[in-house]
Symmetry: C3
Subunit: 301 residues, 3 copies
Amino acid sequence: MKHQYHPLGFEGSRLSQGFWRMNEWGFNPQERLRFIEQSIDLGVTTFDHADIYGDYRCESLFGDALAIKPDLRKSMQLITKCGIHLPCEQRPDVVRYRYDHTAEHIIRSAEQSLANLKTDYLDLLLLHRPSPLMDPDGVADAFEHLFTLGKVKHFGVSNFSPAQFDLLQSRLETPLIVNQIELSVLEPKHIEDDMLNHLQQHAVTPMAWSPLGGGALFGEDQSSKRLCNVRQIIQSIANELNVSMDQVALAWLLKHPSRICPILGSGKVDRLSSAVGALNVAMSDDHWFDIWEASRGERLP
Amino acid sequence: MKHQYHPLGFEGSRLSQGFWRMNEWGFNPQERLRFIEQSIDLGVTTFDHADIYGDYRCESLFGDALAIKPDLRKSMQLITKCGIHLPCEQRPDVVRYRYDHTAEHIIRSAEQSLANLKTDYLDLLLLHRPSPLMDPDGVADAFEHLFTLGKVKHFGVSNFSPAQFDLLQSRLETPLIVNQIELSVLEPKHIEDDMLNHLQQHAVTPMAWSPLGGGALFGEDQSSKRLCNVRQIIQSIANELNVSMDQVALAWLLKHPSRICPILGSGKVDRLSSAVGALNVAMSDDHWFDIWEASRGERLP
Amino acid sequence: MKHQYHPLGFEGSRLSQGFWRMNEWGFNPQERLRFIEQSIDLGVTTFDHADIYGDYRCESLFGDALAIKPDLRKSMQLITKCGIHLPCEQRPDVVRYRYDHTAEHIIRSAEQSLANLKTDYLDLLLLHRPSPLMDPDGVADAFEHLFTLGKVKHFGVSNFSPAQFDLLQSRLETPLIVNQIELSVLEPKHIEDDMLNHLQQHAVTPMAWSPLGGGALFGEDQSSKRLCNVRQIIQSIANELNVSMDQVALAWLLKHPSRICPILGSGKVDRLSSAVGALNVAMSDDHWFDIWEASRGERLP
């Protein structure tokens, strides 16, 4: 399941594991290490973080586990993000949730992430949210600084529109290789708007956050006809192909030609194992369009 | 009325005749031939088809007529489309209306169109609808194959957004020379959005389908104030210029600087003859803006 | 407060003074001259006009004042606009408000503006509104003609969308250096859409018209919760920084990295003087985001 994220580099795994809730998993360092090793054994070697996950604590939880077995570092790829100030107990100086893309903040945040994750380098650093106050030239300076010192190997963004992406890319020497966007059978707007067309044109990898739609797919909520329709078609395809519903939902993303890379989030290794099975689901075009029609709520034009 | 559709080639006629309802005209082969000849005599030499028109039968109806007088082929330009599977009696294997832009389908569909139309080459082949599952590299392979064998001379699309157009174009050696889009005095959204600006910038010809707005313009429906306003201003301009309403509606498209090429659809030669008269309507800028204001429902900003 | 509007030239002032209501100020020529001199003394040397302002009279009002002291010309930069026909007493031949971007109209209008303003050259000529009937090649011809004769030094547009901008730019040798757009704390949509990203990417200066939101900010209207929220946060920041509300509203624009240039419109020199003070307001990122959240009506995502 090795996957080339960009023509100019970054080999990761097609599926990645996110750790935004690792603080809620209740794992001790040994359990965390075990989860990481199991992920790697399953072929999921790309690990997605952000400075602010778990009120700034998740990176360290991961780093503490990695410190037990530092050799694992060369078997994984580490992604993290920066650019947000989050008010919480860990940051008493932060009054309000705010964006900050200054070179100073990006560099300091990346260095803190290195310290937290107990690693010498990040494989991929992302700007977490587009900010109207972003100075693209400042970002370029920060990226160049971090790259030259070998602290970050690749750069990308998250939740950037095509125009925001183009602006930032126009000021960078290095290519933005990833845009993390919300995408699932329940949030399919980027299938129809400019986003995936733009990323695919420029050979940028869309990484999908919340790729299972936040769980509503597997719940009992009957209040939305659309949700029921999507759930029903996915259940039906799952039955037909003798796979699970989450595998169908992930296979729907994996089948798109823009080569979407879903980011998983559960701390249960059987969930991750099931997700890996999505790579082998033989979803037909008909299945794909059936799901899309259910999700968009109308027939193809 | 010869018209250069693209700087790199394809000379057709400014107006084209579409055959999506030829199966409803009730013509025998001789009558079809006669209609084709009359069209050519009127200067309308570009004929627009799609594999699926008339439940996959219209191309053959046309081809059977052309077979009576094969020499006519060199006096006309043939456009057809592919990329849709339509469930109907003729295709019992197709279960649901679906898109298919695989190289295999494009090539097979184009070859079937050649056989149906009784011709050795298509002047222009279009992808009928944008598909999220389109692999642009696969399309590029199919187009190159068809071009190299001399089976298709030019390529284009239909109903593609600017971003979808850019993605596909980025993978092709050959230019996409046409985008067929819905456009009329009653469906003017592309006048204000990015579509026509984008096509004009890249010297791509917009071909307008449903250029008369589907007939509502000439009906009696009084329920929509907007429709009544548009009808009234068009009637008023028609009176002033001593032309017909359909000529005014077509002249409105023809006056736009993106050089819109309307596709007509009636099987009545007098309707076609009237449409040709639209090329000589002396519509002023004031007329054009009067119609636009009526259609958009508010004054110019 | 000198400001480089484009990498290839046009040095003006960061703030500019508009004269669209000069006809309502009730100034005699000496008073107008005095206002112009006071503006220049304050560092506001860029003056924004349009042929149609004041029913085609404002340019002449300005020109009559400049004629008293022609030497002032070299201390100022003159912007004007063309491309609209406005029905009014001064133009009995114009029946309806219409756009006109023909080369003939652009050239004639620019020459009339030169005569009205009593100057030999315009620093910057803008197309006032995008027109669907614009022939970009005709505009290119007009611009080249005016540039070659030394009558206009730079060109730009007003109210053009990114796609409209790209189309026109693709046909011009000269860069469009400005796009005048509506932008204020009360009209912030361009902060989030493609507009500012696009302009910033291409190093085009956004000039903001109605940069104070048309006065509602300083009124008593309590009917809109959003308006009240914006007013309140601006008042609060004004108090904190010990500056005026208009200075806060302008500083919010000035802080954006696309280097927005606000166009002021009052005929009161103390208002202009206050606006100049906005250049020195030490607005923090927190202040900026506080205002933006109030204006967009929801928290940052």
